[in-house]
């Protein structure tokens, strides 16, 4: 059976009023797929996420979003002293189904508790969001997306600042969610991680490439994406040399 097409962009350009911040973006995302969004800082990754959330209107091209998108933003720079519990954050997902005057009630809180259990955080339901570790905060925001019944999860550099066990746990959760039919779009800087997923979208103010990682991530694509040169590291590794160091 062909997996369901959830997001399709064709020749999409997005921006903030002035010239396009990112253009020529064409990709498709199906249920059950993990798509890595690669690009340098300022290359348009967050702009694409904001476009998919409906915050920015396309300047050109078409964007079809056939499923609800749950946002999993970075929390490193957010106000961690905001007076809200993990359960309250997860329950916010139910707002999408409630009329504007209704607040999440007992039924929604039960759903939220189930979602927190799904991401392994049942015991932390009563904890203040800002007191959780970085990995736990990402999981709470995923739980919010699950309560929202989002088929697509949009994650903005979810691995930033996580230690190795937390990152591995989060990656396992992403795999499990994809196995259940969710589509996950992950903005990341980690090439090795991106190679393990189903497809990659490389952008640097315009789309450089889109496709399965094994066929897409070659030297030319990476150099165009990061605007630099790739150097071999003794021992078999590779590193991107940023442009200011290329001369």
């Amino acid at each position: 059976m062909q997996p369901e097409l959830l997001i399709e962009a064709r020749g999409l350009a997005l921006g903030y009023g002035g010239p396009a911040a990112v253009s020529d973006v064409s990709f498709a995302l199906h249920g059950g797929e993990r798509l890595a969004l690669l690009g340098p800082n300022g290359g348009g990754k967050t702009t694409i996420l904001r476009g998919l959330l409906g915050e920015l209107r396309p300047l050109a091209g078409t964007l079809r979003v056939a499923a609800s998108c749950g946002s999993v933003p970075q929390t490193e720079r957010s106000r961690l002293d905001y007076p809200v519990s993990a359960l309250e954050v997860a329950a916010m997902g139910a707002l999408s189904r409630l009329p504007w005057w209704r607040r999440p009630g007992r039924h929604e809180r039960r759903t939220a508790l189930g979602a927190l259990a799904r991401v392994g955080l049942q015991a932390q339901a009563g904890a203040t969001f800002g007191e959780l570790s970085g990995g736990q905060r990402q999981r709470v925001l995923i739980a919010r997306g699950l309560v929202q019944e989002a088929r697509v999860l949009l994650m903005d550099e979810p691995f930033a600042g996580l230690d190795r066990p937390a990152a591995e746990g989060l990656e396992a959760l992403i795999d499990a969610l994809a196995g259940e039919g969710h589509a996950v779009l992950i903005a990341t800087h980690d090439l090795e991680q991106a190679r393990r997923w189903d497809s990659v979208l490389c952008v640097n103010r315009r789309q450089i490439a889109f496709g399965p990682p094994a066929e897409t991530l070659d030297r030319a694509v990476l150099e165009a994406t990061y605007g630099g040169a790739i150097v071999e590291i003794p021992g078999g590794g590779k590193a991107i040399l940023p442009p200011q160091h290329c001369h």
Partner: protein, 279 residues
């Protein structure tokens, strides 16, 4: 101890202070969480010309305050659209211009005596209309905040994410500003142009130091505001100090006491800091 309560003017003053305190304390939590303390201060200061004109005309102050707050909001919005002018600079220019115009009017020969009550409020002498306005404000505010609570919480927590949840951040923020403008317009009668910001920011900032949940924070802020209103009015009764200023100083004192509590609470190790990745 109960002697002040037997005085009819003190009963009225306590009723006015309690109504405005609960309203200001509860709304103030959202003012603080949304970073609108400066906007609250600006709105109250820019009401002055409207209040002075109403006083000169002998009209109810509310009639002057409402158009003044609309004018201030429009002016701030317009100045904010001028390219190259930062929002805070725009607010400062508009507020100083309006406050300056208010002072000019207040010092003109045609202004009636007692104009300083517009600046410092008249907590000890509320009229029946003032009490009614405060009661109506509190009722409308309580209903609005109860209905909007979940959306205010969601937008304040994650503005971009809220949109994905079908909540319009712009609509929620506009509703909050309307509630703020309405509260300032009514509370300025009791606390005055210069001191109303104390009841909007102080109790909420203190409550934030005491709790890390929104509902207890709102309850604590309202309770602190009422407590400070009673303490300030008692001080005013026995020491003959100005009512609004005494309440404002009581609010500041409670805030200073709450600071070490907040510091101790935040330096406590996190409730759950383990990796928590077992699936």
């Amino acid at each position: 101890m109960l002697a002040p309560l037997e005085e009819p003017f003190m009963q009225r003053a306590l009723a006015e202070a309690a109504l405005l305190g609960i309203a200001g304390g509860a709304l103030g939590c959202w003012v603080v969480l949304y970073g609108l303390s400066y906007a609250a201060e600006s709105l109250s200061h820019s009401l002055l010309p409207g209040l002075v004109l109403a006083a000169i005309a002998g009209a109810p102050l509310l009639l002057g305050a409402v158009p003044a707050v609309v004018l201030a909001a429009l002016a701030i919005a317009l100045v904010g659209r001028i390219p190259g002018v930062e929002r805070e600079v725009g607010i400062a220019v508009v507020v100083t211009a309006l406050f300056g115009a208010g002072v000019l009017l207040a010092l003109s020969p045609s202004s009636p005596p007692g104009i300083e009550s517009l600046l410092f409020g008249d907590l000890l002498g509320p009229t029946d209309a003032d009490l009614l306005a405060a009661a109506v404000l509190l009722g409308a505010l309580a209903l609005s905040l109860a209905l909007l609570h979940a959306r205010l919480l969601a937008v304040g927590f994650d503005r971009a994410g809220a949109r994905g949840l079908g909540v319009s951040p712009a609509a929620v923020e506009a509703a909050l500003l309307v509630l703020l403008a309405g509260t300032v317009v009514v509370a300025v009668q009791g606390f005055g142009n210069l001191l109303v910001v104390a009841v909007l920011v102080g109790p909420a900032a203190s409550a934030r130091n005491l709790t890390s949940r929104s509902a207890p924070m709102i309850a604590a802020a309202a309770a602190i505001a009422v407590l400070c209103a009673v303490a300030g009015l008692y001080a005013s009764y026995y020491a003959g100090t100005a009512g609004g200023a005494s309440v404002a100083l009581a609010i500041v004192a409670v805030y200073l006491l709450s600071v070490p509590v907040g510091l101790a609470r935040r330096s406590r190790p996190g409730v759950a800091t383990g990796p928590g990745y077992d699936l």
